[in-house]
Symmetry: C2
């Protein structure tokens, strides 16, 4: 029931994913989701709005589609949830109903950032918004969980992990970043990934690392700045190419630009993922179309079947660090 | 002597600025700067490299062009410095030789972010990298200094000031951001600017505020992420338009894209500025061309003549805040 195009686009996407062989159930008000094409329905009478306070929404609306979906995973009726709704509420529902994996200090949101034209899989940025405040131990675990995700999602063997900072030197950054740099460079936690040091905001889109680790505040600022920059520039170029006097030339140029636009489109990546909870929780853009939902459902399915949760659980260790 | 194209592009830009009526002196090794066209020279035998440790460079290389230039302002021989060299070293030289303005806790780097097509002047982002760690009082002063800069540089009356965060609600962000939000919303420090609340990374390029305030770590990550995103996308589009099979159409389209590219080009903005020191210090991109230097010198001149330093000094107040 979440997202700007719910429930129509969500149901449409679910039906298409089911046609492709994935077993999908819909969570929402019985009879209130339009033509569900006979897909199984799990009843939920409430909806947490896009602008509602996440924690409060989950606490108060116990019969909301987000909470009921997370409970379906908890109860073994489903292996994964997919939502285009309120990101914070989807996260809170997963955290509270699926629960944290043993040893995980805090779950994190992992967002794939495309590397167009490089032939490399997307770079996984985490935390991209779950935790505004982070300890060194949390960031080390983000590295472990991000590497497990890159391996499960893209088949990357021994993923490279970088730390988002404001210079390549280990002396650059906040005390948090410097501490995490020292911990990751020490090698104690790097059995399953290769720490390649600090990267900067300008290194995105070039495939500089398989995983980029940041606290949730910095990661969210970086992610939204990327999205805003891309959207602005694509909009400006599209505006110019849409001018009547350029119609003939634009007709030749635009088709050549489409593959690039497609690679940059967040709809293609399947959405973000909450790592560190006992279940698969995929969070799509609020503006997700049916096609985006098909992608998100496919990713959720593949990760559930591929054992993402077990891989994340196995990757996370206890981290001894100041302020852990 | 700083920057990728020094000294040739620097000297060329200085000569062109001087032809335009600005009194420019060159700081560097006498006879070692090429054809200076008779511009006054201030001797400096050393150069702080682009990758050199800033603090160490300034401490050890007392006869470097960056240090001598800052001393020229301190001694009243000049009103402003312009450098395309090591940003950290330019900052350290300005801080140590020009000195902080009275009452300023920490100087900050202000970077103009263009708002193409909006008809609005650039948005001033500060701190964009001087202080990785910030207190609430510092961020309040950044708001004051940024507003004074926007007024001096763009003639903006009562500039709008926003706080970079991860959501519009005052409850969003780090403890630092929440504390600064409360201070700025309280109105006590807003006599010369209008605080409009939080903005997000996706709000850049749309002229959402005249000034955006952030700690130097977050500001630098946002700035480099913008630059990287823009450079990546412009490069990708340029690559496609450069294909031989699209030559005819590209010939029609490219000239129409140039005004947009020009508005986004950091060379046109005159560079970043260190605010809070007792002098004008403009810091240009390391890759600055002669044209970028002309712009930077012109901006430095106009701000010096327009009394930027006095305006910043008058804007800054003592801020009482926890952890100030």
């Amino acid at each position: 029931m979440g997202g700007d195009n719910a429930p129509a686009a969500i149901v449409d996407g679910a039906r298409r994913a089911a046609d492709g062989g994935i077993r999908v159930a819909l969570v929402g008000p019985p009879g209130g989701m339009g033509d569900t094409g006979g897909l199984p329905e799990l009843p939920a009478s409430e909806v947490i709005g896009m602008d509602e306070d996440p924690a409060q929404g989950v606490r108060r609306k116990k019969d909301s589609s987000l909470v009921r979906a997370a409970e379906a995973v908890r109860d073994g009726a489903a292996m994964a949830t997919v939502s285009a709704g309120n990101t914070g509420a989807a996260m809170a529902a997963a955290l509270l109903r699926m629960g944290r994996l043993p040893g995980v200090v805090r779950p994190a949101i992992a967002t794939p950032i495309p590397n167009p034209g490089s032939g490399r899989p997307p770079t996984v940025l985490l935390d991209s918004g779950a935790n505004a405040e982070c300890s060194p131990a949390m960031l080390v675990q983000f590295a472990q969980m991000g590497a497990a995700f890159a391996a499960a999602r893209y088949g990357t063997g021994r993923p490279t992990v970088a730390l988002l900072s404001i210079g390549e030197e280990k002396s650059k950054g906040t005390p948090l970043v410097k501490e995490v740099h020292a911990l990751l460079a020490g090698g104690e936690y790097s059995s399953t990934f290769e720490f390649i040091g600090n990267v900067e905001g300008r290194d995105f889109f070039h495939g500089v690392a398989d995983v980029v680790v940041a606290d949730g505040f910095t990661g969210n600022v970086a992610l939204k700045t990327m999205e805003g920059s891309m959207r602005f520039l694509i909009g400006a170029v599209t505006g110019i190419l849409g001018r009547p006097d350029l119609a003939d030339d634009a007709a030749a140029v635009i088709p050549e630009l489409l593959p690039l636009a497609a690679e940059l489109d967040p709809e293609g990546t399947g959405g973000a993922m909450l790592l560190g909870v006992d279940g698969v929780s995929v969070i799509s853009h609020g503006s997700s179309t049916a096609t985006a939902m098909v992608n998100a459902i496919t990713v959720a399915h593949d990760l559930a079947v591929g054992g993402l949760v077990d891989r994340v659980a196995a990757a996370v260790t206890e981290v001894e660090a100041p302020g852990a």
